[in-house]
């Protein structure tokens, strides 16, 4: 049995909001009997793009993570729903507009905050994966159609295939520890969840300071080298995927023509953009 999944690449999302707008366009003002009641004009974010910046000038990046109903296989909303939420054979989770009337409790049942309360209609609502369009033969839901970078892809594959793909491509789901088994997968989620350490290596030669390309950097944690890289033409380097609160690190900068330098720093809640590392010529 093939089922729907969503694969979202955080590194490819540039926050154009087309997915958000497409879902607004589809549901605001449109009742879709059997699937979904209309979304209110404002307030709901059935696709909710979370953003987080890392670092500080001159080394900064921002990650954008479109989040939505995860269409979980072990969905807490279904468990809490007493029949108001159903799982379709194709994997899509639907909150039934008639059965869910008045069920504000379903909003809190979702640990991802993906269910929104429609005050006017007294309804809990979430993005139904554009099931009505897929049932009419659309090849993909609207966020996929509108995405200019291909950051969002919809895959209709067997669960076995999806599991293999997730493993092979290092896809992650949000908060897997909850055991909800989401059908929305992420690539490059570390851009949002993890931190980096980076900086610029300069070389001093004959009284002139220049960016030092080709310097070797080793990252040490508890005295052990855990990663290595080289500076680019601007002397810049970056170690990514550091866990928050991962503590003390050391960076050793070496270069064939220069004397090595070692820098200590700690990683807690923020990425570490180090002061420029100046290597004196040997």
């Amino acid at each position: 049995m093939k089922k729907w999944n969503l694969v979202i690449d955080v590194a490819e999302c540039h926050n154009c909001n087309n997915c958000f707008l497409a879902v607004k366009d589809e549901y605001v003002g449109n009742d879709i009997p059997g699937y979904c009641a209309a979304q209110p004009s404002h307030g709901h974010r059935w696709i909710n793009i979370l953003s987080r910046e890392r670092g500080r000038a001159p080394m900064v990046d921002a990650a954008h993570v479109p989040t939505t109903c995860n269409h979980c296989d072990a969905a807490p909303c279904i468990a809490a729903g007493r029949g108001a939420v159903k799982k379709r054979p194709d994997g899509i989770v639907l909150i039934e507009p008639e059965a869910a009337k008045g069920r504000k409790d379903l909003v809190t049942a979702c640990p991802y905050g993906a269910i929104w309360w429609n005050e006017e209609r007294s309804l809990p609502q979430a993005w139904p994966f554009d099931a009505h369009l897929l049932d009419r033969g659309w090849p993909a839901p609207r966020p996929v159609q509108s995405c200019p970078t291909g950051a969002i892809r919809a895959l209709k594959v067997s669960d076995t295939e999806m599991t293999q793909m997730a493993r092979a491509q290092e896809l992650q789901t949000l908060r897997p520890e909850l055991g909800t088994r989401p059908r929305v997968y992420y690539r490059n989620l570390h851009r949002y969840t993890h931190l980096f350490a980076g900086g610029t290596v300069l070389g001093a030669k004959g009284g002139v300071i220049d960016c030092l390309a080709g310097a070797r950097l080793e990252l040490l944690n508890s005295g052990r080298v855990i990663a290595a890289t080289e500076t680019d033409t601007f002397g810049d380097f970056k170690f990514d995927r550091l866990a928050p609160d991962s503590g003390a690190y050391e960076i050793r900068a070496t270069h064939t023509d220069h004397r090595p330098v070692s820098v200590q720093f700690e990683v807690h809640r923020a990425s570490a953009v180090l002061e420029d590392i100046l290597l004196e010529s040997a």
Binding site: E12, C13, H14, N15, C16, N17, N18, F20, L21, A22, K24, D25, E26, V28, G29, N30, S41, H42, G43, R45, I49, S51, E53, G55, R56, A57, P58, M59, V60, D61, A62, R136, R142, Q145, S146, P148, T149, G150, L202, I209, D210, C211, A213, D232, T233, F234, G235, D236
Partner: protein, 1000 residues
């Protein structure tokens, strides 16, 4: 004989069609009147009488006929009637056209050999009847099941499918191509093949369209300001304050038409100012360069001169070194996509955010190409005080100079290249003049100050070692320079006090690297896609139905292909758009023209008022708000309330901007509620071959998807109704509806060779097949120049007289070479701020302006907006309001966003999403604060062009909560001898704001 036969058939066909068409029946029953169609000498003719819904007819002239169609001869009558009704026989057009002269109707009309006589009300009634007959059975749209019909339309952000059910828009989506649409082009580069997806991308503002069609701020009825009485007190001081009363269309149109006549009679030539946005809802008919200019020319108007506000530095600066006046100083856009993918090693983005500005109309067509560049390992550098969305997404080195200082950074790059020999000496020797003087300036031989990386550091804040690294990387690698969103132009740096210096520096740098050699060019993969450029379809700047051969590119091709009457504005008086307030308030101003024919056109200063002309007494404003794009916006509020304006007429879709200051409001409808025909991003003369940004050329029949909301009407229809009251309806409309004009434009293009009218009507779009023969693809821009050949890219510019030597030989400059020292500026010699050699002159407002900087220590930059389109699609309770990166909801109001560095926020006690007051001596704007490390400290970033202008109290004197950032920017021109805006040289201070506190 044939004439009589046609006339004999006419009533029978009308009766037959009336049985099938309720619309035709209604039109035929609307009035009782008589029409005669006759030959001038009275030898032949027929009358038709519409009476109580019945049609009577007889084979003779009839003296009491209210409407007369008169032909000089029966033969002419036969041909013209056949031509006018040819839409009925569109399937037979290939045969029919052989018997018809395309221009015959126009020629006959001009010579009064074909006349339509009678009261306008009834002549239009009769042509409406004929047109309903002609277009009956023109089936539009594609049924897609579930009771929905899929229509097609076109927006400023891309073509769309519009799904309609029961007369209501259900959804608006990007376009995905059908199986029978052509396959896209393929580019081979570095052993790989690249081809774009078979779809059209869409900008966020295009995707937001439905929410704006159904916006609660739609104007649905004509309205008159309650205390404005054209027969009595006009109370101009209350514009913007007093409310409105709903009136009928008849009353509104009668008032507007009688005011047009009164103002012309009372004040004379030039008393009416025509004012419009720089853009409009998309289309070739309902556009400001088409129906609007046709109507305004017909009534005579003081023309508003648009400054090239997205090209300022290029038009007033760069072109004096390398020509390209017809591109406002922008660069040739040909072949760069293939060249960059094959050869480029580095792309430098300088004040360039193409993923936000989307090549203006090109949506995300180039997004996939930038992904290819990344896959190919092409390095990226981004120079911008803000780590803009393109930079953040694409990755690469971010360098953040202080706003306005970029020319200094550029000079220091040149310094490193000259010092280290990292430039193309042979190219400089053969293809340029004046380099010795430029080098002497850079190396400090003239003024004793070498423009070294150390020299620039205090100006730009960029460390010398970064400048050296950048210069070396750039000097060693084959580099594309994207300076502005579109490769050239559309970047904030060109709209600042140093904008011309910056653009001049950009072309100097690229010339030093050998502009046009493989891998060395302008661009960001946004232009130069190998689409077929030859397939003719007019762009909007070709003037549509305007007939204006002076102020549009109508004469270039459209006038020769589309039979339509010429129109000419007899009023030569002009007002620069940025000086409308001064023109009204002070009664005098001056400006420099946007004249793209030559390098020198811009030097011809003009004054307002013109000799012998009346000052402006009436403003006819049409289209989107100007507040968001007028520097020191408060001036405009003052002008609109001036008693010098006796009548302010506003024709608008939404109640926004100047509509709130009007005496009379005429409600227009959106492009989804009227018929039109157009090409995606087809700009015609404005940006020649603009559609080579597209992955696919998409030409659309813009279906009238739904009926106009409320009592709103299309702009064309409003103008036609006014024209009726001025005796101009036959001249303005030429007896055609918008849909029939679509058919005429279809016939004028290459479309009939490729798709039948019937199929286009239903399907709504045509994708032009790409150029498949690689040998026929356009050459790469500037390659001809680099190699010393005659120009061989397909743009008909510069104009022949602009060449000093042989036609097509060399650049538009006097020498034909790239001029480091500009001979046109040398000859002009009157602008000390624009000397022939591009020397660094610090901004007149910035960190170098001590006393002002001490009071207002934050530099405000206001780039082109990311989600909305100029002042369009923002606000109005539309869906863009919900984008948290666009506006932020606080206390029930959606506030515009201002970004600032956390250090600057901390120093002022400002937290995320706090309401803050941005202010200086010019005014104050309330925004929601967004704290970001992506912005250089000391700089504030807020996009320009909000649609809303909402002063909390007295307009022009109190803080604006609409987000109209230009309230803060200076009206001062870039340099004194230009009409160039410079909003990115702006100093402000910020403080926390409390709505219930002391107030602004």
């Amino acid at each position: 004989m044939r004439f009589s036969l046609i006339l004999w058939c006419l009533p029978w066909v009308l009766r037959l069609y009336a049985r099938r068409s309720a619309k035709l029946r209604a039109l035929m029953a609307a009035r009782d009147f008589t029409v005669q169609i006759i030959v001038k000498d009275g030898s032949r003719g027929r009358w038709l009488r519409f009476e109580g819904g019945r049609l009577l007819s007889g084979a003779s002239a009839r003296a009491d006929a209210e409407v007369t169609l008169r032909f000089k001869s029966a033969a002419l009558g036969t041909r013209i009637l056949t031509r006018l009704t040819s839409g009925m026989f569109h399937f037979a057009w290939p045969v029919l056209k052989r018997f018809l002269e395309p221009m015959e109707v126009i020629t006959a009309a001009k010579n009064f050999a074909f006349e339509v006589l009678g009261p306008d009300e009834l002549t239009v009634q009769f042509t409406d009847i004929l047109n309903a007959m002609i277009t009956h059975g023109w089936r539009q749209g594609t049924p897609v099941g579930s009771g929905e019909i899929r229509y097609v339309n076109q927006t400023n952000g891309g073509p769309v499918f519009v799904y309609v059910k029961d007369g209501r828009i259900v959804r608006i989506t990007p376009m995905e191509f059908a199986a029978d649409d052509p396959q896209p082009w393929v580019i081979e580069a570095r052993g790989r093949k690249f081809s774009p997806p078979r779809r059209a991308t869409l900008s966020p503002h295009g995707l937001a369209s439905k929410s704006l069609v159904y916006s609660p701020k739609r104007l649905l009825y004509p309205m008159r300001r309650v205390d404005w009485d054209p027969q009595g007190e006009r109370n101009p001081q209350n514009r913007g304050k007093s409310g409105y009363v709903r009136i009928s269309w008849d009353e509104a149109l009668d008032i507007a038409a009688s005011e047009i006549k009164r103002v012309r009679r009372e004040h004379g030539h030039g008393a009416i100012l025509g004012s419009h946005g720089s853009h409009h809802t998309w289309g070739n008919i309902g556009y400001y360069l088409s129906a609007q200019i046709r109507f305004m020319n017909a009534i005579g108007h003081t023309r508003m001169v648009l400054n090239p506000d997205s090209w300022e530095g290029w038009y007033w600066g760069a072109m004096h070194h390398y020509g390209n006046s017809m591109r406002m100083g922008g660069a040739e856009p040909y072949g760069q996509l293939e060249d960059a993918l094959q050869h480029a090693e580095l792309i430098v983005f300088w004040s360039s955010d193409p993923e936000s500005t989307c090549g203006s109309y090109a949506a995300f067509e180039a997004t996939v190409r930038r992904q290819w560049a990344r896959q190919l390992g092409i390095k990226m550098v981004h120079i911008d005080p803000y780590l803009n969305p393109t930079a953040n997404w694409l990755g690469g080195k971010w360098i953040a100079p202080v706003p306005g200082s970029s020319p200094a950074l550029a000079h220091a790059i040149a310094y490193v290249w000259i010092s280290e020999g990292l430039y193309d000496r042979e190219y400089i020797e053969k293809r340029t003049t004046g380099f010795d003087k430029y080098r002497a300036y850079i190396m400090g031989e003239r003024d004793g100050t070498p423009k070294s990386p150390e020299w620039q550091a205090p100006e730009t804040g960029v460390a010398p070692h970064i400048v050296r690294a950048l210069a070396r990387e750039w000097g060693r690698k084959k580099t594309y320079l994207s300076c502005g969103g579109k490769g050239v132009a559309f970047g904030g740096a060109n709209r600042s006090a140093t904008g011309a210096q910056w653009a001049r520096a950009m072309v100097c740098l690229m010339t030093m690297q050998g502009l046009g050699k493989p891998g060395i060019n302008f661009g960001n993969l946004g232009t130069g896609a190998p689409v077929d450029l030859e397939f003719y379809f007019p762009g909007y700047a070709e003037g549509g139905i305007s007939g204006d051969v002076e102020c549009t590119a109508d004469a270039a091709q459209n006038y020769q292909r589309l039979p339509h009457l010429i129109s000419m504005n007899t009023v030569t008086q002009k007002v620069p758009r940025l000086r409308i307030p001064e023109a009204i308030l002070d009664g005098k101003t001056e400006g420099y023209p946007t004249d793209s024919r030559s390098l020198e056109g811009q030097f011809q200063k003009f004054s307002y008022p013109s000799p012998g002309h009346s000052p402006v007494r009436m403003m006819y404003k049409y289209g989107g708000s100007h507040f968001g794009t007028t520097m020191e916006s408060g001036r405009l509020a003052d002008a609109l309330r001036s008693e010098n304006l006796e009548f302010v007429l506003n024709q608008s879709i939404w109640n926004e901007g100047e509509a709130q200051f009007a005496d009379l409001i005429l409600p227009a409808c959106t492009n989804f509620e009227r018929a039109d025909i157009s090409e995606w991003a087809g700009s015609g003369g404005y940006v020649h071959h603009n559609h080579n940004q597209m992955n696919h050329r998409v030409i659309t029949l813009q279906h009238k998807c739904i009926e106009p909301l409320g009592e709103s009407k299309s702009d064309f229809q409003i103008f036609l109704e006014l024209a009726k009251r001025l005796g101009l309806s036959s001249y303005f409309g030429e007896g055609k509806t918008e849909l029939l004009w679509c058919h005429e434009i279809y016939l004028s293009s290459d479309l009939p060779k490729a798709i039948s009218w019937r199929k286009l009507l239903r399907k709504g779009y045509y994708v032009v097949p790409p150029e498949t023969n690689a040998a026929n693809r356009t050459k790469t821009s500037w390659r001809w120049f680099a190699e010393g050949r005659k120009k061989d890219v397909p743009e008909p510019a510069p104009l022949p007289a602009e060449y000093g030597g042989e036609y097509l030989d060399g650049l538009q400059t006097q020498s034909g070479l790239f001029e480091f020292e500009s001979s046109s500026l040398e000859r002009y010699g009157e602008d000390p701020e624009r000397p022939p050699l591009n020397i660094y002159i610090p901004a007149w407002e910035g960190r170098q302006t001590g006393a002002l900087y001490a009071r207002y220590p934050l530099q405000l930059i206001s780039p082109h907006p990311r989600f909305s389109f100029h002042t369009q699609t923002d606000g109005k309770d539309g869906v863009l309001n919900d984008i948290t990166d666009h506006r932020v909801l606080r206390d029930g109001h959606y506030y515009w966003i201002a970004r600032l560095n956390p250090a600057d926020a901390r120093a002022r006690g400002i937290a995320q999403h706090d309401l803050i007051k941005l202010y200086n001596d010019r005014g104050a704007v309330i925004c929601a604060a967004v704290l970001t490390e992506r912005l250089l400290a000391g700089v504030v970033h807020a996009y320009s062009s909000s649609a809303e202008y909402q002063p909390v109290g007295e307009a022009g004197a109190t803080a604006d909560i609409g987000g109209c950032i230009n309230v803060l920017t200076s009206k001062r021109h870039m340099t004194e001898k230009t009409s160039a805006c410079a909003p990115n040289s702006c100093l402000i201070e910020i403080e926390k704001w409390h709505p219930e506190g002391a107030g602004p």
